[in-house]
Amino acid sequence: MANNNFIQLSALAHAVEAVVRNAFGTATYWVIADVTSHTFKAATNYHYFELVEKEEGGQHVVTKFAARAWGAGSRAIESFEQATGQRFTNNIHVLVQVSVAYHPQFGLQLQLHAIEASYTLGRIAQQRQQTLARLVAENTDIHLLGDAYRTPNKSRPLPPVLQRLAVISSKASAGLNDFKHTLDGNAWGYRFSCQEYFTEVQGEANAMSLRQLLIDIYQSGKAYDAVVMIRGGGAQTDFLLFDNYLVAQAIARFPIPIITGIGHQHNTSIADMMAHTQTKTPTEAAAFIIAHNRAFEEQLLHFQQSILVRSQQLFVSQQQSLSALRHKIVQDSRALLHEQGAALQQHRELTVTYVRELLFGYRATLLSMAGRVSTRPALILQHRASALKNTCTQVRAYQAAYLKNRQGELAHYKAVIHLLSPAATLRRGFALVKKDAQVLSNAGSLQAGDHISIILADAALQATITQKDYYDGTTFKL
């Protein structure tokens, strides 16, 4: 049964060691791999980890190597960490320079000599850009405005006082302690109510669990003023959780303002970008909350001061306006009395003036009346005297004419009578024939032999008719 055909394991190991050494010697290779199972012994400055290669787009590990770094390798990691701001830890994708070695005690190992920081940075940055682009593309309520993202969570108004807090943290993290310590130790005695929600924030795979935690907070129905998301002291790969799409989306849409304290000194996670307020560390998150509350109290104190100042100003201005009114009333009352006095004085003077003018006017009109009455009578009498004299002259003239007319009339009749008198007729050669004292106008009664008297102008002749002849009277026909 005994089989002596064996060699010591160490002999095999040495043989393998020789083959490996001969095959790889001191050759180094640049390989791309993911880091897992990382531990760091600070005392010896040794990094122990595995480098793995996963299926394209999957989680299945197709290749795994144990690896370690010490000495120059550890120094390269330090440089890497400083350059990237990313701790060398699980789940980071790296480009590393390794040599292959076999050690009888530790087996086949890759020894890390150098690490390309820019590769990892590029990878992370590329992933972040993809995630951010997807957030904007697939969520209509997330927008990129300039360099910043606008999310519903950012738009949530922060209550004036942040006092009821939901804190998301990994259990017993140093960050949580820092946060609580800072809150409780505030200089103004503010008190807070913190509800802790623990998460196993180990690796990117826990994105769903973190998202679920947010859903739990929301569904608790408690009126939290804010959700504080802190991370402190955990593995370096914790950070990548906060670049996760689902986590970022949940944060962006969360209805309670989220304050993050997960940041790296040199980097900002997508969660930070989506959250309401981003602070670098849990301590800063606590400080922000205290400052926020302090700002509120200061505003209160400012109001108090303002009310005090304004009240006192109000008293002063009221006193001044009262004084001004009093002064004005005093002045105006005196002015009013003075003006009334002056008006009275003026009335008195005007009354005196007007009365004198009035009396003067009355006297003047009376005087003019007297003038009218005294001048006209003489004129009237003069007119009458002149009229009288005129009448007198008329009487004298009219009577003279009258008497002359009467004389004329008489003269006319005198002439007529004189012309027609018988004496005048007889003087012209006519004679009167009388018979028996009767004047005859025809010869009818006369006979030859009758005695007649013929009367001439200067004598009367007695005669006897001797003959009587008739004639036709043509002798005196004119």
Partner: protein, 69 residues
């Protein structure tokens, strides 16, 4: 001419006589008488006229004296 005869009446009679004579309605028998009467009336009137004139002139001269005096 003893009756108180007025100038008016005398003048009227005179006018009547003159008219009658002119109209040849007066016979020679009474013509002389009429002429005589007319001549008397004329004399009366003239006398009266002169007397009136004298009197009026007297009054007027008195008047003028009065109004000037």
């Amino acid at each position: 001419m003893e009756q108180p005869l007025s100038y008016e009446a005398a003048y009227a009679e005179l006018q009547q006589i003159a008219t009658a004579i002119e109209d040849e309605t007066v016979s020679v028998d009474v013509l002389a008488e009429k002429v005589k009467r007319a001549s008397e009336l004329i004399a009366f009137c003239q006398g009266k006229l002169r007397a009136t004139e004298t009197e009026v002139n007297k009054i007027i001269s008195q008047m003028e004296r009065g109004s000037n005096g």
